[in-house]
Symmetry: C2
Subunit: 263 residues, 2 copies
């Protein structure tokens, strides 16, 4: 039986790799690597270094281009699902054409495959089609949210309280009201700036970009105070590097929480 | 300067250790290990094996007893904070008495120190007291929620949707209404059974106990169907091993979501 591994490789620092991931990389015959265009050459280089260090001698790397995705579409879920299905085509091709019988293939996922990543869903699509029989396993990784918290030396939740992980898009839809603590991923449009102005003095933000890499940026403090600095630093870094990957935690203070419906 | 490391050691499988954690363990002079009574000897053994494998020759292990904690108190937050402060006393003693100048000490945390763990807060307490100067860093780990998702081969969130991580206590307070997807930790009282009976046929549960260990139990399906099986399996396992550590994801279907206020 062909075997597929979905390997979480952590949020940036090569040392975020778990021993389980290292072993999985070491027993992989062929890696499917999906190019995402020119802008993230740093990540490509990091991944190559991981494979050079932990891959077994003679491993193969199959490179393909990412299907185009319409990020401007208002029908966000549908456009993601269409893109996911085209990605499943790539996975199916890889399993059928690039893996010998009883060989092991791997898909590498930055961060943790269980948070805002569609790899598992696409693999399930391939499985459901049933045209190529294979087994697969998922190896968890250090998510950018977990890395962010560690670098800021904070808990994601407060004692006995919940934390919600969401996207910038979703957060923007719910603002200016802020629920309990929120960790935000995939926020291309700096939704935190939409927190009601009156509340910004009562909300703490813990922000990080390129967390765990040599380009790491960290800022934290009252949103009213550091929010503008983050916007500036973020724009600057994005300009300089050509891309940015950032995440943050918003932690409303007592006064804001007492105004929200389910506090 | 004395140096303290708060090291996330993952959710059970010794291979969940990251390379960063392995290196941190390898440069630690003294580990503070807090005993939690007789019941979790499996975890004690797992931790000992990690130190034997990754600790540097001559490392020291300082064992102390966990401060008692009143888990039955209705003033949950206060009782946690009191316990946290007594824990801070232990950390302070360790830093002052058991670490030489320029030595590195470590606190090992199961899972990820950023999720439902008070170690960082207690370390901050010690720092704020200012009686023992030290530097500290946090090393993220694979949380039980992340491990659960990997073993079930699922995402914690659905496309573009949020996921909330919370406690059994909090979930119980909010039931029978169920918000969006919820990952539940620290649920000694199987709060999932409190989901409204009419909804149980529309909610999926992904449950796991001792995830990542040789005793791992996994069950998933419609809550109406597998809920009773989980209760049975859980009681049996708890009886057999003397303790249980479990976590689960509740994923409401379309019909339940459409009834909740912010869907």
């Amino acid at each position: 039986m062909k075997n597929l591994l979905v390997i979480g490789i952590g949020a940036g620092d090569p040392d975020y790799l778990t021993l389980q991931a290292v072993k999985a990389i070491g027993r992989t015959d062929a890696f499917l690597v999906i190019g995402k265009g020119e802008e993230k050459q740093d990540l490509v280089r990091l991944r190559q270094e991981m494979l050079a260090e932990h891959g077994r001698p003679g491993h193969r790397v199959v490179e393909v281009s990412d299907p185009e995705r319409d990020r401007t579409s208002p029908a966000y879920t549908e456009s993601v699902e269409d893109w996911r299905s085209r990605r499943a085509d790539l996975f199916e091709d890889f399993l059928r054409d690039d893996l010998g019988p009883d060989e092991t293939g791997a898909l590498l996922v930055w961060g943790d495959p269980s948070l805002y990543d569609s790899t598992i869903a696409s693999v399930e699509d391939v499985l459901a089609r049933g045209r190529v029989p294979f087994e697969y396993a998922v190896i968890p990784g250090i998510s950018s949210v977990s890395a962010l918290a560690a670098r800021h030396r904070i808990g994601l939740n407060r004692v006995g309280r919940p934390v919600t992980v969401t996207t910038g898009r979703r957060l923007a839809e719910g603002l200016p009201e802020l629920p309990e603590d929120v960790a935000v991923m995939l926020d291309a449009r700096t939704a935190f700036a939409g927190v009601a102005e009156a509340d910004q003095a009562e909300v703490d933000i813990y922000w990080g970009a390129y967390v765990g890499t040599e380009d790491e940026l960290l800022l934290s403090g009252r949103l009213a105070e550091v929010g503008p600095k983050i916007l500036e630093l973020r724009a600057e870094a994005r300009e300089r590097k050509g891309w940015i990957m950032d995440t943050y935690l918003l932690r409303p203070g007592r006064r804001v929480l007492s105004r929200t419906p389910d506090a």
